[in-house]
């Protein structure tokens, strides 16, 4: 008698819950919605590890929305207070540093996974008939995501943000005819100041995220209407006339509902992404803020965030005559090609195994971006601003030298040669390393180079006395690896070195 009411209590609780659910479902049609969205049929072959990047990007977006909303609890989008509020967030607000770190690492993960998603879609031919709109909305989503990355770096409102805006304004200023207006429109006024921050805040928090959500809706709707791309079989060509029927046959024959039968790999990927963001946030923490955004504090080395480092490198490496073209014309053309891809490459082979040009394109793009990013971080083209006062001169380049050469070394140090020229690796890398310059250039050539400059070196003629030039050149002429003769003027007929001359050279060369 005791057991019966207890059992019926559980049963009735269960029945009550079921009743509530059924009532809600009757009013809201949840199970119907679920069946027709998450439960949409996918080809069995599409339940693959290669197909998890889309949902993983969406997950990163959700994490960004949550952490970003929480950061806005404390952040103040005012030019005079943003930096202070960032310091408060990082050092005083409980777990503020962690929220900043998650938002920062979330953005890195989002950009990275989005690129993987795009690469996979490209290599698997998923942009082809009939999924052109999915590809195009995806391209716009990529642009929006990069827009979020740039505007987000501005909201950090530190010195990198300030000078990053300066670079943006300088690029806008290169646009013909309307450049002046564009700079003013971008900055919201004549200088980088309060209205600049406010409009980037609005872009980052309202305008771009709103656009992203709307586009994600279209992007996902397309997955439902046109179906997920089947895992391409090499040699199986897409034809506009037959594809829809073939796809319907695949779904009929081996279709499975995405949820619950095809979703477990996406779930595993989701856990990996969350774990990765948590791990990076906890171990590496948030980025910056670097120094305060005081333009008057010019002792700064402005560098962009990871995603834009390659653009920074391109800006340094392009020849001057093609710079405006490269900054203003090439990006829109590249974007146009991306948008047009599904139209000039609409049918045919989907599998990457039979699309060598597609594979090579991907490898080339990753290689170029990777190398440019690496170069951006090392930036060998930048003078090392403190090398003249800070870089050491190895002892072997000082020891046992006559006073004139030592004086030359002092002059070299004082007039900032080392900012661009390293000696044995220490110093700037804008110009060549001077450790072996005596073996490459004659004294006359060295004098000419120092006095007149050229080959991307300023002329020092006005700033050095003849005595200083003599000292610097004597020192440089002595810099050559052991056993190497000094450089010889090719216009002077060569004389085979005598034994004594060779001996002197050997003695000289010990430096």
């Amino acid at each position: 008698m005791n057991g019966t009411p207890k059992k019926s209590l559980t049963t009735s609780a269960f029945q009550a819950a079921q009743g509530v659910f059924l009532w809600l479902d009757d009013r809201l049609h949840i199970s119907h919605l679920w069946e027709h969205t998450a439960g949409h049929p996918i080809p069995k072959s599409a339940a693959s590890w290669f197909y998890v990047f889309g949902s993983a990007t969406l997950l990163s977006l959700i994490i960004q929305i949550i952490t970003g909303s929480l950061l806005a609890f404390a952040y103040v989008p005012s030019a005079s207070e943003a930096y202070e509020s960032l310091l408060y967030l990082t050092y005083e607000q409980d777990l503020g540093w962690f929220m900043r770190a998650m938002h920062y690492w979330g953005s890195n993960f989002m950009v990275g996974i989005m690129l993987l998603h795009m690469t996979q879609v490209y290599l698997f031919g998923a942009y082809k008939y009939p999924r052109e709109i999915t590809w195009i909305t995806g391209c716009v989503l990529m642009l929006c995501t990069l827009g979020m990355a740039f505007t987000g770096q501005v909201l950090r409102w530190d010195e990198d943000a300030y000078w990053g805006l300066g670079i943006g304004a300088a690029i806008m200023g290169r646009v013909p005819f309307i450049g002046e207006g564009l700079v003013s429109l971008m900055l919201g006024g004549p200088i980088i100041a309060s209205e600049t921050l406010s409009r980037f805040f609005s872009l980052h928090v309202f305008i771009i995220p709103g656009t992203i959500l709307a586009l994600v809706a279209v992007h996902l709707r397309m997955v439902l209407t046109k179906g997920i791309n089947e895992y391409p079989k090499p040699g199986h060509l897409v034809r506009r006339e037959t594809y829809d029927k073939e796809y319907a046959a695949i779904i009929k024959k081996e279709g499975i509902p995405f949820a619950p039968h095809g979703i477990w790999k996406d779930l595993a990927a989701a856990a990996i992404v969350i774990g990765g963001i948590l791990f990076c946030s906890a171990v590496f923490g948030p980025k910056g803020p670097t120094g305060p955004p005081y333009p008057a504090d010019i002792d700064t080395l402005p560098r962009p965030d990871f995603f834009f480092m390659w653009i920074f490198a391109v800006a340094a490496l392009m020849p001057e005559y093609m710079e405006t073209f490269g900054l203003l014309v090439v990006p829109p053309v590249v974007i146009l090609i991306l948008f047009a891809l599904p139209f000039f490459n609409n049918t045919g082979e989907k599998s990457w195994r039979r699309r060598p040009i597609a594979v090579l394109t991907v490898i080339l793009i990753y290689l170029v971006m990777g190398i440019l990013t690496y170069l951006g971080y090392t930036s060998p083209w930048s003078p090392q601003m403190d090398a003249w006062s800070g870089a050491p001169t190895p002892a072997s380049f000082v020891k046992g030298r006559p006073p004139l050469e030592l004086q030359g070394l002092i002059v070299m140090q004082n007039v900032q040669c080392r900012n661009c020229h390293a000696i044995d690796g220490a110093g700037g890398h804008r110009g060549p390393d001077l450790a072996d310059v005596g073996a490459r250039m004659t004294k006359d050539q060295l004098v000419r180079q120092v006095v007149q400059g050229g080959g991307n070196m300023p002329a020092y003629g006005k700033n050095l006395s003849p005595y200083e030039v003599e000292a610097v050149v004597s020192y440089m002429a002595s810099l050559r690896p052991k056993g190497q003769p000094p450089a010889r003027d090719s216009t002077v007929p060569g004389v085979p070195p005598t034994r004594e001359a060779a001996a002197t050279q050997k003695k000289h060369g010990e430096g």
């Binding site: 300066g166 450049g179 200088i191 980088i192 005081y294 010019i298 700033n463």
Partner: protein, 181 residues
């Protein structure tokens, strides 16, 4: 025998004859009214957003400091409070520039922004060069291009000397589109 709804006959028949029905007219009126309303609402929206695009501000005479702050033959960093300043601009409105006093009342006042992509150039007294930390632009002491990617000499401000004080015409961030501020 036709089985159509007797209520519908009149309008349907009139539409078949190429006449506007009442329903059709009201639909077109509704669309037309919304086109007018849409145009009206977009005027202030576009005007608000594009005001900064259209409004090109003139430079303002700004005090840099007393002349004796700038000894002859030197190049020194000076700062000024930007003429166009909002109360909540904070330190962002304190703009630096390089002042070169050639001799007497002859000056050159250079903008801090490199002409390549706007990074702050730094002055090196010993080599008499300005160097940029971003992409390696270098300029001579008179602002002329010496090396690196910049397409032109440093931007200069117009200046004037009044009552032993140096003023510059400033207020706008110089770019290639507007180099003469």
């Amino acid at each position: 025998m036709s089985t159509h709804n007797p209520k519908d006959t009149k309008e349907a028949a009139s539409e078949r004859n190429g006449n506007f029905s009442r329903r059709d007219f009201l639909l077109k009126l509704g669309i037309g009214l919304n086109i007018v309303a849409g145009a009206m609402i977009s005027i202030p929206l576009i005007g608000y957003v594009m005001s900064s695009f259209v409004k090109i501000l003139p430079p303002q005479w700004t005090l840099l400091g007393a002349l004796d702050k700038f000894p002859e033959g030197t190049t020194r960093l000076a700062t000024f409070e930007n003429a166009y300043k909002r109360p909540w601009d904070g330190e962002a409105a304190i703009i630096p520039c390089w002042v070169r006093r050639v001799s007497g009342e002859e000056f050159q006042v250079f903008a801090i922004n490199c002409t390549h992509l706007g990074c702050p150039v730094r002055w090196f007294e010993e080599s008499k060069l300005f160097m940029c930390p971003c992409h390696g632009g270098v300029f001579y002491e008179d602002g002329e291009h010496a090396a690196g990617p910049p397409p032109r000499a440093l931007y200069t401000y117009k200046y004037k000397v009044e009552n032993n004080e140096l003023f510059i015409a400033a207020g706008i961030m110089p770019t290639l589109a507007r180099p003469d501020v």
